[in-house]
Amino acid sequence: MIEGRYFRPEVARSEPAKLWGERDDLRMVIGDDQTVHRPVLATVSDKLGNVPRKLTFADGSVFEVAAGADIDTLLDSHGHFFSRLARLEASWKFVSIAAVVTVALLFGLYRYGLPALAAGAAAVTPNVVVTSMDRGTLETVDRLLLSETKTSTQKQAEVQALFDDVAKASGHANPPLRLLFRDGGRVGANAFALPGGTIVITDQLIKLAKSDDEIAGVLAHEIGHVAGQHSLKQLYRVLGIGFMIGVIGGDSGQLVDDVVSQASALQTFAYTREFEADADRQSVETMIRAGRDPLAFVDLLDRIGGDKPGSDETGWLDTHPGNKDRRVATEALAKKLGWQK
């Protein structure tokens, strides 16, 4: 027999009551009244910590008992998922194991799972999607940052020929590559690749270059971004992190939310550095295959970064590897591939 309190339907006043019997054949007395009622059970709230359990009957009335009362024996529901779960949640041994597994799982997911999932998602993303992304991004940067090129048609043809040469050497076929010329404006000397194979080079970069190999090296680097699907992978990884935070952060206060999203923004810098190093690698390989100087583009980068102090080392907040690190890495790789000056 279980003691508790009974609420008539839709009423705030409770009366002491006693309940006994079985799930399909319950008996109850209310207050001092000796009349035995036979309530029909509709729902029972799941066991959870020391929260009182509530049995709701078919007529909308409620019988409430303390968490300690043995409702599960009365209703024969010890085997129910949440009754088992509540017992596990109260066991120190299980909770400690769950904590270790959860931390390990989160770390593994973040370190290996997300990059693998992102690579998989990038591989199956149809070309239609990436080409329309190119169109949208190009529209935006053209409106906000870049303007029409002032490079002569003759120079354009030369750079285009360089581009075709390294594109061929890169062995990349899909999505098809195309080169666009723009005046960099505020952006200055720069080149960038969009996921659908559009590569943009600025007039300022062409002017700053001292040799064809310097330009070719940068173009090979950008082709490396397209071939490695870096933008797409980045996009999917950021989405994945957002989803992960959503799953974890169900119960996070305002402050926690703020800090976690700032921290994940920092993480994208690290991703970017990883992709830059990969594109450098591909540039070196392509340039050697094309019979060109694979280190030339680092000289060009030095000239771009020349006016910024401290651009030699790779810092925590950097999107690109520092030039000194870059030079060391590219030289080592070029040597390994048997290249000699």
Binding site: R5, A12, A99, V247
Partner: protein, 365 residues
């Protein structure tokens, strides 16, 4: 709290009694529930988050007591899951349209703004309807234009006036929520006095200056500590002229932290004013005595503890905050609370409630 008092508290007649809210959850017990929620959410790729949410809220509501009775959260996990899937699907389609088809779909924010008041009302109705105390549920009956004014127009005016109109916004939104909220067949009524809200704004201003200064000094101290250490990369970034730029970076961080903390301070003050000017059934009143500075300190120290313990102290922090909120809240009951009765009320809409949950927007119901 192993046993429930079997007799209802003695009816004190028409005498008014101050009844404090109390919280019987504890960090050890909640840690188990929390970590299992997290583990199952990860393993099920997020699907279990619906069940996790219900268990979390049931734990917090169920351990919140007033006058010997606890609260209860009634939403069904499957409802929540469906709501989440709908919201997720809509957000996905909108993002795909904006990013891949045409940026022109960004104009979707206009119908979104127009739908927002309706969504807010439906969301508050759902959350209220899923909450009960003594077998009687809360309810919310909003009005479209009321919500439009309080939650769409007024926040913009508050920002445009650089915060000077914030107390007006707070007054209107507090009153709006209070007046449309019901407990069964009984209605709440809130009349937040503007003077007190402006007083709160003044204190917030002083607090912001103090908090901003302290945060600046802390940021500068930590920054120069880092500079003094042998980190070559950092030194390269801040060559000898580094101290000047360090001070300005510290000031920016300080101002940012000051504004966020001041906002929390301000909200705690608004909660006090709103609760203290709320009546139920025209006779029962509320007391909220949240220490604003103390509340901000609890949130900040919670954050630091959570970060240092890679999130493992988060359950402790959540319990601590809730406990403090309960301990600072009381109901001044005029006589017995036995007479309340429930009545049919709008059920609200689970998808709109989940939309605001996913977006992290809380109306402080």
């Amino acid at each position: 709290m192993d046993t429930i008092p079997t007799q209802t508290p003695v009816d004190a007649g028409r005498e008014s009694r101050e009844l404090g809210f109390s919280f019987t959850g504890n960090a050890r017990e909640y840690f188990g529930i929390w970590i299992v929620n997290l583990l199952l959410s990860i393993v099920t790729l997020g699907i279990y988050t619906a069940w996790a949410k219900v268990r979390r809220l049931r734990y917090f509501y169920g351990n919140t007591w007033l006058d010997g009775y606890n609260f209860e959260y009634h939403a069904k996990p499957k409802q929540i899951l469906i709501g989440r899937l709908i919201v997720f699907g809509i957000l996905l389609v909108v993002n795909l349209l904006v990013n891949f088809v045409s940026p022109l779909f960004g104009l979707i924010f206009i119908p979104y703004l127009l739908a927002l008041p309706w969504l807010i009302n439906k969301s508050m109705a759902f959350n209220a309807r899923m909450t009960s105390y003594r077998n009687v549920r809360l309810n919310f009956r909003g009005s479209y234009w009321g919500a439009f004014g309080c939650f769409i127009i007024m926040p913009y005016l508050a920002i445009l006036s650089l915060g000077l109109l914030a107390p007006v916004t707070s007054r209107l939104s507090s009153n709006y929520i209070g007046r449309h909220l019901g407990y069964g067949a009984s209605r709440f009524e809130t009349g937040a006095p503007l003077g007190k809200l402006y007083g709160n704004l003044g204190m917030t201003f002083l607090f912001a200056i103090g908090a901003g200064l302290i945060a600046t000094i802390l940021a500068a101290a930590i920054g120069s500590g880092l500079l003094a250490s042998s980190d070559i990369a950092l030194r390269a970034r801040f060559p000898s002229s580094g101290m000047g730029s360090l001070t300005s970076i510290a000031a920016v961080i300080g101002a940012y932290a000051g504004i966020i903390l001041a906002f929390l301070f301000y909200l705690a003050g608004v909660r006090n004013v709103a609760f203290n000017s709320t009546k139920l059934d025209g006779q029962h009143s509320f007391n909220s005595t949240l220490g604003r500075g103390r509340y901000v300190w609890i949130l900040v120290s919670n954050l630091i503890t959570s970060i240092v313990t890679i999130g493992l102290m988060r359950p402790w922090a959540a319990i601590r905050t809730w406990k403090y909120l309960c301990a600072s809240t009381a109901l001044v009951a005029a006589g017995s609370l036995d007479h309340f009765v429930d009545e049919a009320a709008p059920q609200g809409n689970v998808a709109s409630a989940e939309f605001f949950d996913i977006e992290g927007i809380d109306f402080g119901l």
